[in-house]
Amino acid sequence: MRHITRYGFVLWTAARQQWVYRAELAMRAIQMVLFMGVFMALWATAFDVSGRVKLAGYTMIEMVWYLAMTETITLSSSRVFTEIGEAVRAGNVAYTLTRPLSYPFYQMANSLGNSAPRFLLNLLTAAIVVGLGTRQVAGSLPGSAAFLGMAALALLIDALVAVLIGLMAFWIEEVMPIFWIYQKLLFTVGGLFLPLEMFPDWLRRVAKWLPFQFITYVPARAFVAFEPKFVLQAVGGQVAYLVALTALVTFVWQRAQRRLVVHGG
């Protein structure tokens, strides 16, 4: 319990520091408005051209709300790897390591503190834009509750991946390319732009087992089409990946610690 409060306070401090970046936060909100505006127009055309009411089981309204939710999560995803990389390069990692804390979990808390305020802002912006644009709400009350819970788990998984990418900085100088690969996988097999139902059969079967859809597709899908069975299965998958990634991060950290070189005197 006392550990949770310690890491919780790290999270809280990181979240407060976000206030300094409020100009950047505002830019992100504008970005969200643009994205959602473009996607609403695109999907309206796509549905018009197809002449159908539903595509892969989604109505136009559902599709747009699905996108609002996946965008909310991806635009809130953690960038903590840049901070870890910078700390390794400049040697500030030395200070963090003199604390009675686990380094990767400290960075997890730091990461969640960064993404939580962004998530709330993105969610609010996306909901307002899509709400005004479509004048309809696709989600239900249980769907919204499921989304919030599953999005929280998704952000945890995402933070673990970001810490993992950050720890790579102990081996290689530049970790950004690894993030780009991860990001593109979220865009595609994670179901950011297209829900998994639209994939060809074989690809959907592969994607179902990968961690990426647990970050974007799963919470958004639970929001637009709430089914208790789906939610249970998906949460099970999320928890399984959380456990596996935690083990992996712990293992990689043990390795990283042994090969740490502190730069800069």
Binding site: T13, R16, A90, G91, N92, Y95, L97, T98, R258, V261
Partner: protein, 337 residues
């Protein structure tokens, strides 16, 4: 009780050397050329609790690497070390409650937040209870005179203000050992002096063991009783600072800015006999070296002030590099302590 003990502590870094050019890059990819750098070569020493020890040496001598092994940040390649009875790299988190560190070239405060927020976070991390934390903060704030900028974001503080906050932050959890790695780097004389006084006061009041590295001979002189000189990863001197001072920090330099042209300076006695040597002079600027064994610095300064109209005067210790170079020329006899 022994605070720090090392036996044959060694750290070797392996770096991959890249050969120049595209051809070199390709060759490095398939046949990497590894180069081993022995940063610390089997050093052995012990520090008692409450001692104030300076760990000095030129750049790249292995000082920081040693500190980082003693704080548990780096794994040694071989050898042993015990800090308060624990192996630092194995009991890093446990030991963290007992030790503090100040790295002069790095920052532990949250850059965009006021120092107060960092203090509060550290209090949580070190699990100080509310009352202890409040008292401790009040005490350190008063001592370091940082009350004024406790609520100012760190990025807006000057280096001197920030460093006082940094050091105060390292004392927050009552460490039994404080490792200071270049704590006064880049600070002006007044702030340096202030920081030394504070560290000294805390050492005396709370018996904190001080383990210091510095390029500043003044830090060493004012703060420490014992000095270990390390060069090329080996301890070449371990003894009292007073001995080091008597033998090697015998000179000070005086930099003058005059309001009239330099016309020489005669204290009586010939050549080096006066204890004052002209290092260089250009226009109204003059630099003198004073052998304090022969000419007390106060005397020289007052004589200079009587002889010339002086716009500015500065008295400095010789840089650490120079002292170490001298130790190298004539290695000292290790004395029994």
């Amino acid at each position: 009780m022994t605070a720090i003990q090392t036996q044959q502590l060694t750290k070797t870094f392996v770096t991959r050397e890249k050969q120049p050019g595209l051809k070199g890059s390709v060759r490095t990819l398939f046949r990497p050329v590894r180069r081993e750098t022995r940063a610390v070569k089997g050093i052995t020493f012990a520090v008692e609790e409450g001692e104030r020890v300076a760990f000095i040496g030129p750049n790249g001598a292995g000082k920081s690497t040693t500190i980082k092994m003693l704080t548990g940040i780096l794994y040694p390649t071989s050898g042993q070390a015990q800090v308060l009875g624990e192996r630092p790299w194995q009991a890093r988190q446990k030991l963290a409650y007992e030790i503090g560190a100040v790295f002069g070239q790095k920052s532990q405060l949250w850059y965009h937040l006021p120092p107060k927020d960092s203090f509060d976070l550290l209090a949580r991390i070190y699990e100080l209870d509310k009352e202890t934390c409040r008292q401790r903060q009040a005490y350190l704030v008063e001592m370091f005179e940082i009350g004024e900028y406790l609520q100012t974001p760190v990025r807006k503080l000057s280096l001197g203000e920030r460093m006082r906050c940094e050091i105060a932050a390292s004392f927050l959890h009552h460490p039994r050992i404080l490792f200071l790695d270049e704590p006064t780097i880049g600070l002006d004389v007044v702030i340096k002096q202030r920081i030394r006084d504070l560290i000294l006061e805390l050492n005396q009041q709370e018996e904190v063991t001080i383990f210091l590295t510095s390029h500043d001979a003044g830090d060493v002189e004012k703060l420490c009783k014992r000095a270990m000189v390390i060069n090329h990863g080996e301890v070449i001197y371990d003894g009292r600072v007073s001995t080091l001072k008597r033998n090697y920090i015998r000179t000070k330099t005086i930099s003058l800015k005059l309001e009239e042209p330099w016309q020489g300076f005669d204290r009586g006695g010939r050549g080096d006999g006066s204890g004052v040597r002209l290092l260089k002079h250009k226009g109204y600027g003059v630099k003198l070296e004073v052998d304090t064994g022969i000419a007390p610095i106060e005397d020289v300064v007052s004589q200079l002030l009587a002889r010339y109209a002086v716009a500015d005067i500065n008295v400095d210790n010789p840089p650490m590099e120079e002292i170490i170079a001298r130790i190298y020329e004539a290695p000292p006899q290790e004395e029994a302590r």
